[in-house]
C-alpha cells in the first residue's frame, strides 16, 4: 500500500510554482486507490484528460429516438471527478483571487454553482456570504498569513518563540506544535488530529468540520491533509469530499449500478438516457433504469406502488403457474410467453400472461395487452369497485412483471444464441453471416424493456382515441416481440438455417420499427397534450 499512498498524499511542500498533479494514471479500475489531489491549490494536473485519455468517453444520446438528445454527456471515473472538482475550483479562482481552499468551501456552500457564487461575491452582501459559508474573509486575514502563503492551507503553524496551553488536552506545549485557523484558536497538532479523525471516522463529516473553538470557522482540506497522517482516514475523507461534490452537483449523478464507481455528467438536467461505462443504462433525471416512454413522475409512482403492494407483486412474479388445462405446475425457464405444457398427455398451448389459449394471440381480434374496462365500469358498490381497481392494477402489473421476468433470462438467451452461432459457423456460415442472431437478441431485449414501461404508462392512462391507438401499437409490438422470442428460443436448428435467418431478420426489423412507431406516438402525444391520466394530481 505504501508506495501507492504517495499518490494521493497531499504534497505539503507545494508552492506556487506548478505542483504536479499526482493523479495515478496507470492504475486499473480499483476504486479504493484513486489518485486525489483535493488540496490542490495551485496548479491542477497538466495532463488533464491527456494521460488518462482513453478513459474519457464522450457519448451522444444513446437512444436518439423519441426526442433529440443531442447534448453529449461524459462518464467520469473517480479520478476524473476529482479532476473536475479541481477544474471548477481553478475556474473560480481565476476570477476571484482568494485561497483555493476558501474557494472550495464557498463552492460547496453554493452546491458547486459557480454563477451563484460569483454573483454573491460581487454583490453588496459579500461579507455576509463569507459568514454564511463559515470562513473568514481573506481580506481580514492577519499579516502573518499574508506573509507566509506557502505554509499550505489556512492552518498556520505558529512560530516557535513561546509556549501555550492546548485547550483540549490542557498540556503546555511549544507553539510550533500547535495549529490555528484564521480565527486564531490554537490547539496542539495531536489534539487536532484526533479531533478531525473522530469527525471523519465517527460522524462522516468532511465539508462541515468546524474549529473546536467558540466560532463556526470550517477546517479546510489542506489543513486536514496536513494534520491527518493515517492513510485510512485520508482515504475516507477524500471519498466523503468526492461524494458530497457529486451529490450536490446538479449536473452530475452517480451510476446507480451496484459497486460502480463512476458518475455521469451532463450539460443540462433533463430526463434522458445515459449509459455508464459499466453498460448500465439509466435515466439521468431520476436514476431509474431508462424508462421510455413513461415519464419520471409516473415511474416513481409505479415503483412506490409496487413496493407497497409487494405481496401482490411477489405473487405475480412467482415463476410457477398451473397449466390451465391439466393443472400441472409449470415453471417458466425462458422469456417466451408461448407455453406448451410438458405433460405429454396434455401438451396444451397457452399464453403465460393471460393463461388463455395461445392460438388467438396471433390474430387481429385478440387483446392480451388491454384490460377490459367494461368490467370496472359495471362495478357498482364500493367493494366491487375496489376489487375492480385491484384487478385493473394486477392486470397491468402482471404484464409489467412478466417482461421484467423475461429480461432476467436475458443472459441465458445471449449464451444460448452464442452456442447457436458457433454451431452455425460449423455449418458453412461465416462469422459475419451469423451476427444477425446477436442483433436479434439485442432488439428483443430492447422491445421487452419498452413494452414493460408501456404497461406502466397504460395503467395511468385514461381511455380516449389516442390511447386506443397507443394500445394498438402496444399490442402489435407485443405480438411481434413474442414471435421473435419464439423464433430465437425454439425454432432455430441447423437444418433450417437459411430459411430461419430471413425470417428472424424480417421479424427483428419489424419489431424495431414498431417499437419506434410506438415511442414516437407517445412522444407526439406529450407534445400535443393527448394523454389524460386517471388521477388528477399527475402532471407531466
Amino acid at each position: 500500500m505504501s508506495s501507492d499512498d504517495e499518490d494521493y498524499l497531499y504534497d505539503d511542500d507545494s508552492d506556487d510554482s506548478g505542483n504536479e498533479s499526482t493523479v495515478n494514471q496507470d492504475e486499473d479500475d480499483d476504486n479504493d486507490d484513486f489518485g486525489m489531489d483535493i488540496g490542490l491549490g495551485e496548479e491542477a494536473s497538466g495532463s488533464g484528460g491527456g494521460g488518462g485519455g482513453g478513459l474519457m468517453m464522450m457519448v451522444s444520446g444513446a437512444d436518439k429516438k423519441g426526442s433529440d438528445h443531442a447534448h453529449p454527456y461524459e462518464v467520469l471515473s473517480t479520478e476524473q471527478i476529482v479532476e473536475h472538482m479541481v477544474d471548477c475550483i481553478k475556474e473560480v479562482n481565476s476570477v476571484i483571487q482568494i485561497p483555493t481552499t476558501t474557494v472550495r468551501i464557498l463552492l460547496n456552500h453554493f452546491k458547486w454553482d459557480k454563477e451563484k457564487l460569483m454573483e454573491r461575491y460581487f454583490s453588496d452582501s459579500q461579507e455576509q456570504m463569507f459568514a454564511e459559508a463559515k470562513v473568514v474573509p481573506p481580506y481580514k486575514l492577519g499579516a502573518k498569513a499574508m506573509v507566509a502563503p506557502d505554509l499550505g492551507g489556512r492552518g498556520v503553524s505558529l512560530s516557535a518563540k513561546s509556549t501555550l496551553e492546548c485547550e483540549i488536552c490542557y498540556l503546555t506545549l511549544p507553539k510550533s506544535l500547535t495549529t490555528a485557523l484564521e480565527c486564531g484558536h490554537p490547539y496542539c497538532n495531536s489534539c487536532w488530529t484526533e479531533y478531525i479523525t473522530s469527525k471523519i471516522m465517527n460522524e462522516g463529516a468532511s465539508q462541515s468540520i468546524e474549529c473546536p473553538g467558540n466560532c463556526d470557522i470550517l477546517v479546510d482540506d489542506v489543513t486536514v491533509m496536513k494534520l491527518v497522517k493515517d492513510s485510512k482516514v485520508k482515504l475516507k475523507y477524500q471519498h466523503l469530499i468526492t461524494n458530497s461534490f457529486v451529490d450536490c452537483n446538479r449536473l452530475m449523478r452517480w451510476c446507480p449500478a451496484p459497486d460502480c464507481p463512476n458518475a455521469v455528467k451532463v450539460q443540462f438536467v433533463e430526463s434522458r438516457p445515459v449509459k455508464c461505462r459499466c453498460s448500465h443504462l439509466f435515466c439521468f433525471a431520476c436514476s431509474e433504469n431508462w424508462h421510455d416512454p413513461v415519464r419520471c413522475v409516473l415511474i416513481k409512482r409505479w415503483i412506490k406502488k409496487c413496493d407497497d403492494d409487494s405481496e401482490t407483486s411477489n405473487w405475480i412474479s412467482a415463476n410457477t403457474k398451473e397449466c390451465p388445462k391439466c393443472k400441472a405446475t409449470i415453471e417458466k425457464d425462458g422469456g417466451c410467453n408461448h407455453m406448451i405444457c410438458r405433460n405429454q398427455s396434455c401438451r396444451a398451448d397457452f399464453c403465460w400472461v393471460c393463461l388463455g389459449p395461445w392460438e388467438p394471440h396471433g390474430s387481429s381480434w385478440y387483446n392480451c395487452n388491454r384490460y377490459d374496462e367494461d368490467e370496472a365500469k359495471n362495478a357498482r358498490d364500493s367493494q366491487e369497485k375496489s376489487r375492480a381497481a385491484l384487478q385493473r392494477y394486477l392486470f397491468y402489473c402482471n404484464r409489467y412483471m412478466n417482461h421484467l421476468q423475461s429480461l432476467k433470462f436475458e443472459n441465458n438467451l445471449y449464451s444460448m444464441v452464442k452456442d447457436k452461432m458457433d454451431e452455425m459457423q460449423q455449418h458453412n456460415m461465416s462469422w459475419i453471416e451469423v451476427q444477425f442472431l446477436k442483433k436479434a437478441v439485442d432488439i428483443l431485449c430492447e422491445c421487452r424493456r419498452t413494452l414493460m414501461y408501456t404497461y406502466v404508462f397504460a395503467y395511468y392512462l385514461k381511455r380516449n382515441n389516442q390511447s386506443e391507438l397507443f394500445e394498438a401499437n402496444q399490442k402489435d409490438l407485443e405480438n411481434s416481440t413474442e414471435h421473435l422470442s419464439e423464433y430465437l428460443e425454439r425454432d432455430i436448428s441447423a437444418e433450417n438455417l437459411v430459411d430461419i435467418k430471413q425470417k428472424v431478420q424480417d421479424k427483428f426489423r419489424y419489431c424495431d420499427s414498431r417499437r419506434r412507431v410506438l415511442l414516437d406516438h407517445v412522444h407526439e402525444g406529450y407534445d400535443r397534450d393527448w394523454w389524460v391520466y386517471t388521477s388528477d394530481d399527475i402532471t407531466s
Binding site: 483540549i168 488536552c169 498540556l171 484558536h185 479531533y195 473522530s198 465517527n202 473546536p212 473553538g213 467558540n214
Partner: protein, 182 residues
C-alpha cells in the same frame, strides 16, 4: 457555539440500541492523557469556582474520575434562587472528542421547559454542538444560564411520554432542538 439559542426538545423518540453485555464499559480514565485533563478540569473549578458551582464531596473523596458530581445552587435573582441541584457527569472513552453524559440527579430536579423530570437536559452542546474545547465548567455555566433565563417554571410538554419511553442515557435520545425563547 456556546451561546446557542435556548433549545428545547419538542419530540424525543426512544433510544436505539441497549447497553449490551457484561463487559465493563471503557471510560475516559482508561487513558492517562485524558485522565490528566479531567484532573486539571476539576482543579480549575476548585481553585476558582464559578458562582454557585462546587464539586461534590463524594467526587473529591472518591477515586474514579470517569463519573463526577457537581453541586449547583440556583442563581440569585432567578426563579431558582436558593434551590440546590446536583449534576452528574459521565465521561466515555472518547472524551473530550465525544461529549460527556450530563443529567440532573438527586431529589431536586429543576422544573424547567428543557429539563425532564428524570433529569435529562435538552441542550444542544451536550450532543451535536459539543466541541472538545468545552469543559465541565463551560457546561455548568451553560446550564446555569439556561436556568437564569427561564421565565416560567414548567416541565417540557412531552415530559410524561418521554420519561416513560426514553433510554437511561440521554445521549441515546435523538433530540429535536428548536429555537424557542424561554
Amino acid at each position: 457555539m456556546n451561546d446557542h439559542p435556548r433549545l428545547t426538545a419538542v419530540f424525543a423518540r426512544l433510544s436505539f440500541g441497549r447497553t449490551s453485555g457484561k463487559k465493563p464499559a471503557r471510560k475516559a480514565t482508561d487513558n492517562p492523557k485524558w485522565e490528566k485533563r479531567l484532573q486539571k478540569e476539576l482543579m480549575a473549578i476548585m481553585k476558582d469556582p464559578p458562582d454557585g458551582i462546587t464539586v461534590s464531596q463524594d467526587t473529591l473523596e472518591g477515586s474514579d474520575l470517569s463519573q463526577i458530581c457537581v453541586n449547583m445552587t440556583g442563581p440569585s435573582g432567578t426563579l431558582y434562587e436558593g434551590e440546590a441541584f446536583m449534576l452528574r457527569f459521565k465521561f466515555g472513552p472518547k472524551y473530550p472528542f465525544d461529549s460527556p453524559e450530563v443529567v440532573f440527579t438527586g431529589e431536586n430536579i429543576p422544573v424547567h421547559p428543557h429539563i425532564y423530570s428524570n433529569g435529562h437536559i435538552c441542550l444542544s452542546i451536550l450532543t451535536e454542538d459539543w466541541s472538545p474545547a468545552m469543559s465541565v465548567q463551560s457546561v455548568c455555566l451553560s446550564i446555569a444560564s439556561m436556568l437564569s433565563s427561564c421565565k416560567e417554571k414548567k416541565r417540557p410538554p412531552d415530559n410524561s411520554f418521554y420519561v416513560k419511553t426514553c433510554h437511561k442515557n440521554p445521549k441515546k435520545t435523538r433530540w429535536w432542538y428548536h429555537d424557542e425563547d424561554v
